[in-house]
Amino acid sequence: MKRKHQRMTLLGVGGVAAAAAAALVLTAFEDNIVFFHSPTELSERNFAPTQRLRIGGLVEAGSVAKAADGVSVSFTVTDTAKSVPVTFKGILPDLFREGQGIVAEGHLREGVFVATDVLAKHDETYMPPEVAEAIKKSGQWKGGR
């Protein structure tokens, strides 16, 4: 075997081994790589009230209620199958809206998710406001907004 081919084989075998190692590590740590859990996962698995976790889903339409103190909010996060009530005290991001995807970080206490942080999730559609209006009017709108 020529040296050139030897090096090529070595590099190929090394590459495959590295790819396999990466795949194994990523599968093993999948739970840590996942950024948030859905309301369905939350109901299926028992998370301790002390465990800090993130939930993600859509803010259910009509569920946002601001408390009298002006900084506390409560709303429901849904993945359309299951939903979880969330309470939060603080400043919401600009993209926070009913029907918008969000990620909340905090603790699950007796069925209520007490959030310490709320992040807005952006979707991958980009369009000017007039176009969004026109699509909504024509009834072709697929999003929740």
Binding site: K4, R7, M8, L11, G14, G15, A18, A19, A22, L26, E30, I33, V34, F35, F36, S38, G56, I91, L92, P93, D94, L95, F96, V103, D117, V118, L119, A120, K121, H122, D123, E124, T125, Y126, M127, P128, P129, E130, V131, A132, E133, R145
Partner: protein, 247 residues
């Protein structure tokens, strides 16, 4: 590839491509900036922050593109001992690192007002940060050895192994749930981005690519001159008569 492995041929070709790359970069970046800042609408959700996308997304594309180029050049320099391939990998690394840094910084500047945070450790953001460290590691490893050839080989091996990170970055938003949104352009049902916003994005992306080509040529010429200087100095120091010039 093999045809350009010869430094002399590379210099001749580079001299011809260089002014065209510079002109294309200036043209596309100029037009791209005009569309990005003046002649494109605000987004229905993000408002004016959508303009950050025009410098963020092309930077992120280039970060991955440069890495693939660097890894491919490193592989061919390891296998065929191509001198020009080694130069290309060396020249690409700082450019890729700069684009990765820009993707991270501009993304953070978008994330704060839109997501509500500068940074999260989700799969996409973390894997791009790892890409940045791979670039830094590649550059550091090159200079870690007294013998430049050994440094180049060690760095090339790191570049080839690290290429695994590129598909992880690309598909992180599909494989795991992340805060970062999925791809807008490479979707099965066509891009989810309005044409008025696609124009500045693609112009900027083309401009960045042309800028990369120009920068790579400039940096390869610098590297080539440096290796020749080193060779002449070495010959002078060892007292042998100068060998016939290579180019």
């Amino acid at each position: 590839m093999h045809r350009f492995a010869n430094p002399t041929r590379f210099v001749r070709l580079a001299g011809r491509v260089q002014p065209w790359a510079a002109a294309l970069a200036l043209l596309c970046l100029g037009a791209g900036l005009y569309f990005a800042l003046f002649s494109s609408p605000p987004d229905y959700q993000q408002g004016e922050t959508v303009r950050i996308m025009y410098v963020h997304v092309p930077a992120a594309w280039m970060a991955m593109f440069c890495y693939v180029v660097m890894a491919a050049a490193s592989a061919s320099s390891l296998i065929w001992r191509h001198r020009v391939a080694d130069l290309a990998a060396k020249a690409t690394a700082p450019v890729g690192a700069a684009f990765t840094l820009l993707a991270l910084v501009t993304g953070s500047l978008w994330g704060k007002p839109m997501w509500g945070t500068w940074w999260v450790w989700d799969a996409r953001l973390t894997s791009v940060l790892i890409l940045f460290f791979l670039y830094l590691g590649y550059i550091a490893l090159q200079n870690a050895f007294d013998d430049p050839a050994r440094g180049a080989r060690a760095a090339a091996i790191l570049a080839v192994v690290g290429v695994i990170n590129v598909p992880i970055i690309k598909f992180s938003v599909d494989w795991w749930n992340t805060l970062h949104q999925p791809a807008s352009l490479t979707r099965l049902d066509g891009p989810a981005i309005h044409s008025s916003m696609l124009t500045p994005l693609l112009l900027m992306a083309l401009g960045y690519t042309a800028l990369y080509v120009w920068l790579a040529i400039i940096r390869m010429r610098a590297e080539l001159a440096e290796t020749k200087i080193r060779a002449i100095r070495y010959r002078q120091a060892s007292g042998t008569a100068p060998a016939p010039q290579e180019s």
